[in-house]
Amino acid sequence: MAEALLDVTGLNKSFGALLATNDLSLSVRQGEVHALIGPNGAGKTTLVNQLSGDLIADSGRVVFRGQDITRLPAHHRARLGIARSFQITHIFENLTVAENLGLALLAGHGGNFHFFRHWRRAPRLTERLEEALTRFDLLQHRDQPAASLSHGEKRQLEVGMALVVDPQLLILDEPMAGLGPGGTVELTRIIRRLKGQLTILLVEHDMDVVFSLADRITVLVYGHDIATGTPAEIRGNALVRQAYLGEEG
């Protein structure tokens, strides 16, 4: 059995009276694509936020590569190798596409207190930036402000920024949202190609995508993990069918 890259135990987070994360435990193994599914409002994004450091858990533990990161600030976790994309697009709207990706490439390394030379001339940046622009099909928009991209292109940039940093753990929060069939196929292909190179925690509503990509699936309902297993196990799980899959027929 592969060792766990990320270990979550007994996590709790409440917003006022609402328990958005409720005694949640989850283990993501090195190298797998781990899907996280659950009905709307199940607390998937809230969990992602606690993994990325955008929210701090009330109680419980998050361990990444053997290190307790439960209370670590977001930028620390990013430097440890956790990258995320956001469900609601979080790109730098007023920066150009190239600047968006360039910032992503530069940010993780720190030492950016260079005040004079143009950022594009940072060492070993040019090729990686070109490669990233090509890979996400954004080359022809490179000098355009990100705000002017179409919705699909914005989503591509959103996921692209999380990907270019070569993370250990990539967390994608509904990357396909609003992509359309063509985009979904394209992104599925990109993720499939990444399989094995890095570990992915994938939050997704599209069941076809989930069942075709995931090695294991965790089902969240009311902030609690009600089941974890292979796609086949999850399909066959009565509890899951009843609580979740059943709703969709």
């Binding site: 990325s52 450091g53 955008d54 600030p73 977001a74 930028h75 990013a78 430097r79 990258a83 995320r84 956001f86 979080h90 790109i91 730098f92 709207e93 007023n94 920066l95 600047e99 968006n100 360039g102 910032l103 992503a104 530069l106 940010a107 993780g108 390394h109 720190g110 950016n112 207190f113 260079h114 005040f115 004079f116 030379r117 143009h118 950022w119 940072a122 920024m161 940093v165």
Partner: protein, 327 residues
Amino acid sequence: MTRKQLFLLLAAVLLSLLPAAAHLFGNPYLLSLASRILIYGLAAASLDLLLGYGAMISLGHAAYVGIGAYAAGILHLHLGAPGLAPALALVADSEVSGLVILPLAVLAASLAALVIGALCLRTTGMHFIMITLAFAQMLYYFFISLEAYGGDDGLSLLGRSKLPLVNLDNDTHFYYFCLFCLIAFLLLASRLVHSRFGLILRGTGDNERRARGLGVNTGRYRLALFTIAGGSAGLAGALLANHSEFVSPGLLNWTLSGELMVMVLLGGIGTLFGPVFGAAVYLLLEEGLNMYTEHWMAYMGPLLVLAVLFARNGLLPLLISGRKRHG
């Protein structure tokens, strides 16, 4: 783009010919006003670094102008006094007091910005606005209570700083020196905003959460920018002290902070050069309206409200872009 360059070129030519024109018209006041515009332009452009690039709405920028001015004034006083610390006296005698005074004024303002920024940057949004204002007000009261340096009445400098090559006591020289400082600042700042530091900072201002998610320790970058902007404002303050040969707590008053913000808005936020233009418009408007009515602020106020409601991007972008891009 070419239109912008043309505009800047035109501005540079006009600005460098201005002293000659002032002579021609035999109107020395014009030159003094122009120097003042350049200095306020410098202060406004430094505020634009915060507002337009760092998305930090500081309502206390006058504090750093004031600290720069007071540092210059106080140093000037001591360097001029006979029998003070020998090392300083040496400098004072060697006719290059400005080489000590100006850098120290910048340093003092930077340090103040560093300390105050570290406190203010613990917060964001509306808190940040109120707190920058509050700390500026604290310094305002501090200088009012500073009886040793004039307190409420302010401090007279008796002459300007001494520099090699230029004679600041000569108004034309002083004007060119201000122009030099302004252009140097603008060149450095426009490099800064496109450097690695600038890129990260603009990203942080745009979407802090994303920047943190990419591994940026956003607070450090913001504090660095706050310090740089404060130091630049300090330079403007030191120049202002030399310009009027007088400093008073009024410089730290929050209305100056507000006025600097208005200049940035008028000229265009996030354009660096725009705020200089904004400073010119504001000060000329003040002079112009002042000629007709002592109650010019009764017009300025509503004008400002209208500008905010209807000309969101400022005047300069409106002028130089003409039509919409690639129209």
